[in-house]
């Protein structure tokens, strides 16, 4: 009973934190894009426009839920739920600090990737269920894109697992506290993972499933109100998960650089973790507001002809070096 | 090659061609296709620049106006063809220039000139269920704008 209660409490806390992060990230996205385009961004609602996203959420909550008459009712309803739940569930295994985290799984990294790739179902359901041709094209693109970026994504991190010798995220961070961070050990892997993670979370320049200039809004063209908000939140949650994993695998998780991490209070560790995550998210936003969108076949070509060979080279080199060091 | 030499060379072959004023020649409808072909093949007038019509209700005629241009010689020639207002028809130029496709659709739409042999003679600017031909002088617009919409 006690475990049940604590689990529910944990879920609620996690949901609250992620929803709050979603608000902050939307605000950040707007501000960053505005500044890069020499605009000011939201500055009317609340101090410095901080309440703008909150106001938007209220607007979305109050909006009428419109469903296409000939859409598939069940699938149309389930898609936004899955789109949010999958990245949400992935947070279970992410170690936020040395003592903060829900559950440390042996196969932590594997679990995260598995849940991350299940988002593709949400996108396909949304595209199929809404009975809209733009949505359908968006869904088809998404399927192709997810599959082709899943492979280099995982291949890129295999190097880290080879070096670390474990799949548990917490242990990987602890290993990094003893030596170099893995970004120094695996620089190519880091870049590849960053690119593939951007593609995996459907962010520009890989935002083909939504592609607002081609497909209006892609797979969520027909969604409005709260369902739309869930897709939106899901996208940011997935960005958060990708960045968290990236930070854990390559940037030493909660570790503070050039400091003795053994006797530092937990809140500093947490701060370090969050600031690293936000740095990565800022990088992703920077990409989004600078680059044009790739075309679908170029995306495939980039995935298979650039990322994949480089990831394999990285894996091969890492394997050889690890073998040579150990023998 | 100036306008006069162009006209002279046309007149040698086609006797029924008149010069209206500078830059415009008048060609009878029956001679139109041979003249255009001559322009295209011999005088290198390889651009169809203008294709339009004008309604002359007092003469009971519709005047087709064609503009041909030669990038090579930099000569511009306009050809006028007089058509009867009642059921006007012209041979199409779409087999020579694709540019004629939309131009002819526009003239068909707004003047009601039939272009024989046009592959896709539909209305282009007005909606498919539009009645009448808007740029004819006797076109009377139906009384829409009966009432200003009330946006209260």
């Amino acid at each position: 009973m006690n475990t049940m209660l604590s689990a529910i409490l944990g879920v609620l806390i996690l949901f609250g934190v992620i929803a709050l992060q979603g608000l902050i990230l939307v605000y950040m996205e707007r501000k960053v894009s505005a500044w890069m385009q020499s605009r000011l961004g939201p500055n009317r609602v609340g101090p410095w426009g901080l309440l703008q996203t909150a106001a938007d959420i209220v607007k979305l909550l109050l909006k009428e839920n419109i469903r296409n008459e000939r859409s598939d009712r069940v699938i149309f309803f389930l898609a936004p739920i899955l789109a949010f739940v999958a990245p949400f569930a992935a947070f279970v295994t992410v170690p936020f600090a040395a003592t903060i985290g829900f559950r440390d799984l042996d196969m932590g990294a594997f679990y995260v990737f598995a849940l991350g790739s299940s988002v593709v179902f949400a996108v396909i359901w949304a595209g199929y269920g809404s009975n809209n041709r733009y949505a359908l094209i968006g869904a088809m693109r998404s399927a192709a894109q997810m599959i082709s970026y899943e492979v280099p994504l995982v291949t890129a991190v295999l190097g880290v697992f080879l070096v670390a010798g474990t799949l548990s995220l917490r242990e990987i961070v602890q290993l990094q506290s003893q030596g170099l961070w893995y970004v120094a050990v695996q620089p190519l892997g880091f870049v590849l993972f960053l690119v593939a993670a951007t593609a995996e979370s459907n962010r520009a320049p890989f935002d083909l499933p939504e592609a607002e200039s081609e497909l209006v809004a892609g797979f969520h063209t027909e969604y409005s109100g709260m369902k739309f908000a869930f897709f939106y939140l899901g996208e940011y949650a997935e960005m958060l998960v990708s960045s968290c994993v990236l930070v854990v695998l390559f940037l030493g998780g909660w570790l503070i650089p050039f400091a003795n991490n053994a006797n530092v209070p937990t809140w500093l560790h947490l701060l370090s973790f969050v600031s690293k995550v936000y740095l990565i998210i800022f990088l992703m936003m920077w990409f989004r507001w600078t680059f044009p969108r790739l075309r679908v076949d170029h995306l495939m070509a980039f995935g298979w002809k650039v990322l994949m060979p480089l990831a394999l080279v990285n894996l091969l080199a890492t394997g050889l070096i690890v073998y040579w060091l150990k023998s | 090659m100036n306008f006069q030499t162009v006209v002279d060379s046309i007149k040698v072959k086609f006797s029924r061609v008149d010069v209206e004023h500078e830059k415009v020649i008048v060609v009878p409808a029956s001679d139109f296709l041979p003249v255009v072909d001559f322009l295209r093949s011999t005088l290198q007038m390889n651009v169809l620049d203008l294709l339009t019509a004008s309604d002359h209700i007092s003469e009971n005629q519709i005047h087709m106006m064609y503009g041909f241009y030669s990038y090579a010689n930099k000569t511009y020639l306009r050809i006028k063809v007089r058509l009867d207002r009642k059921d006007p028809a012209m041979p199409t130029l779409t087999s020579l220039w694709e540019a004629a496709n939309w131009f002819e659709r526009e003239v068909f739409d707004l003047f009601g000139v039939r272009f024989e042999g046009h592959p896709d003679l539909r209305r282009i600017l007005t909606p498919p269920d539009f009645e009448g031909h808007g740029l004819r002088k006797d076109y009377e617009r139906p009384g829409f704008f009966v009432k200003k919409p009330d946006f209260k």
Binding site: V32, W35, T290 | -
Partner: protein
Amino acid sequence: MIRYIKDLLKNSWALLVGLAVTMRYMFRPKTTVQFPEQKKELGDRYIGYVKMMYETEGEHAGVTKCVACMACVVVCPVSCIQVTHDKHPDPTKKRIAKEFILDYVKCEFCNLCVEACNFDAIIMGHDYELALYDRSVMDMVLVKDMKYHDDLYDASRRQTGSANRSITSPREREIIEVINKKEHEERIKKAAAQSENAS
């Protein structure tokens, strides 16, 4: 193989150059003008609402300068101006505008009427907030019936003048008269009541 790596490096560098541009702009002053608080300076020739000019001195101060010469009515490409005339209070002059109505639904702000005016009676004002909630109030009365108001150009007191909206064909006129007669009468009454209340 070498070309592959070369291309890869070259393209990565080009991407970084692009990233540098956006990063530079993050820290530069922004170009946004915060509209309702900050306003851009308008040029002298800015074209906004048409503004009626009034005599400022002499016996007939406060009387409109418009002598209903119809130059603006003739020159207007969209026939959005309606002017009726009356006898001028000054005996040396012949006529004066009784009503000057400009329909902003039609007006395309081409400045031709102002250029045509020989008496400097109308100028282009600098008001550019043209949005209204009701189309019927866009027939704006710049001069109203014999009172020669000097305060009629006042956004808070825009009057309706839909009774005089310009009608082009006799057929339309007929239809409108049948359908809208009642409405028009009401509006005229309303407008009269409003102007009474105000004065």
